[in-house]
């Protein structure tokens, strides 16, 4: 089965005062239809830029985004516009991602009106359906975002993303701005919708417990590069990249009586600057296992086990 979305050697550089900031630097990923790919990494590792580039909010510096077998970078403008309708985004902050001057109904109807999907009467029927779908009571139709709590606001964001019956949704930390109790609600909503409509997600987060819960595959990003990519169960069982290991060991253990010694292996040093980075492994300056080979040249992802890709010289 060919993947629904394939990202090929995607690069996004931002021009800054003293060079180029390599936000996304040669990332290869693919997502099969109906699956969820989780992208994890710390702040500034380029995961949000990756999502924004895929959805078309940023123009990639180079590389390909292949959706449904068509390369969005090389196809015609018209075709691209059409395909973009099938790719939507759910934003991180439900407070600033909704226009405060629009009612719930108007917010959800907006994508339909913008793309003239159906007549204005049908738009409001469709809006009502969408509100049902995401669990928003009809009485809220004329409410304004500032009157609602974070969870309800994020439901509006989900409904808005679903309005055009997309196949693929980029979820950019959709729950990180919410209370923990509401996070679970929204995650369950997303998973129910995926099941019902066969949606495909690119799920961006820094929260490892969230990503474990929702993803089929996980990509670990560090400074614009993909460090490790594998099925989500495997990642938690058998992390190979030193960065992934350190990341996983940072998950707090909830049992205070646990006899187990805390094995948190703290990463020393600082994240190096993403502006004009040196060749080789980006993690090398902080890696306890770093050798000269790490900084000699670029290290590609290598399949170390079926479906398990790691970019590390230790895996040779």
């Amino acid at each position: 089965m060919s993947p629904l979305l394939e990202i090929r050697n995607l690069k996004k550089y931002f021009e800054v005062r003293n060079g180029y900031l390599h936000a996304v630097d040669g990332v290869n990923l693919s997502i099969e239809e109906g699956k969820t790919l989780g992208v994890v990494g710390e702040s500034g590792c380029g995961k949000t830029t990756l999502g924004r580039t895929v959805i078309g909010l940023e123009t990639p510096t180079s590389g390909g985004i292949i959706f449904n077998g068509i390369n969005l970078m090389t196809c015609s403008q018209k075709k691209r516009r059409e395909l973009r309708k099938e790719m939507q985004m759910i934003f991180q902050d439900p407070y600033s991602s909704l226009n405060p001057r629009m009612s719930v109904q108007e917010l959800i109807a907006e994508p339909l009106l913008v793309n003239r999907v159906c007549s204005s009467r049908a738009v409001y029927e469709k809006t009502a359906d969408l509100m049902d779908m995401v669990g928003l009571a009809q009485r809220l139709a004329s409410a304004y975002p500032h009157e609602l709590d974070g969870g309800r606001r994020q439901r509006i964001g989900v409904a808005r993303a679903l309005a055009q019956n997309p196949k693929f949704i980029v979820c950019d930390e959709p729950v990180s701005a919410l209370d923990v109790s509401i996070q679970a609600q929204i995650l369950n909503l997303l998973m129910d919708l995926q099941e019902a409509q066969g949606l495909t997600y690119l799920f961006i987060t820094h929260d490892l417990s969230v990503v474990r819960h929702i993803s089929d595959d996980i990509a670990v990003m560090y400074l614009g590069k993909c460090a490790e990519l594998c099925p989500s169960k495997l990642l938690f069982k058998d992390p190979r990249h030193p960065y992934t290991r350190a990341l996983l060991s940072s998950i707090p253990v909830p049992k205070s009586s646990s006899r187990r010694k805390p094995r948190t292996n703290i990463i020393r040093g600082e994240v190096v600057s993403p502006i004009n980075p040196k060749p080789g492994c980006r993690f090398a300056p902080r890696c306890p296992h770093a050798t000269e080979a790490c900084t000699a040249g670029d290290i590609p992802l290598k399949e170390v086990a079926p479906g398990h890709y790691v970019a590390c010289v230790l895996e040779d």
């Binding site: 991602s97 629009m102 913008v114 409001y124 009502a128 004329s142 309005a163 055009q164």
Partner: protein
Amino acid sequence: MALSAKTRARKAKKHSEVKEVWRRFRKNKAAMIGLGLAILIVLVAVFADVIVPYDRTTTQVAEKRLQGPSSEHPFGTDHLGRDLFARIVHGSRYSLFIGVSTSVLSLVVGCLLGAACGYFGGRLDNVVMRLLDVFMSVPPVLLSLAVVAALGPNLRNLLIAITISCVPGTVRLIRSVVLTVVDQDFIDAARSYGASNLRIIVKYVLPNAIGPIIVHTTMNIANMILSAAGLSFIGMGVQPPAPEWGALLSSARVYMFRAPYLLYFPGSAILMAALSFNLVGDGLRDALDPRLRN
């Protein structure tokens, strides 16, 4: 049915928001006094012909030159024996018309340029802003003077001159407000589902920038009334037979000591008009400020 629900919702929202602003505005005594004065001036301008017929402003009675206030001429008469009260009442039309029309004109230009600069940024923003810097480096009065001097003094050119002198400030203000709105995620969201730039500016950016724009425009009316009166006073605006307040002051200054009331009344009228709109603008600023919401 769904549609009617939508319009109802929209009305309810507008209603509640306007009500809320009005509630806060009402608490502000100075603003309420300003609003009262402003309404008074508007009423006088609208019903000028009912209050006193226009021909009283031109009737010259030689034996009644420079008479002080009396029951027949409440504000006295000028050096040609014309009734000052009639002239001030009809002059309110000039001041109000100039103040409002120049403010609206600069608002339109300001919205177009300011929104475009703030939204698109880049080269357009740079070019327009540097051009406006050139305009702003000249004092506004001097700029208006230069324009009138080049075009010739009459009402139309006065409007042009005043508008030009006030456009740069308006563009800058709107640009800065737009910049704070454009940063927000809902603009990206609108782009992500394919809204056009025009739609984003009209439906997303400007509605969220409306508060400061309203305040600025109200304050502008006061400033424009003052500059119009100022330019007419030095003879670069509305020309003397017309009963413009600045022109009234100008022709009265020769008789400053013999008939000081000729200065008092038009002077107070200008002061009142400018003050009232300033107070309203101030009150609106406080009432619209989200930080003061409780």
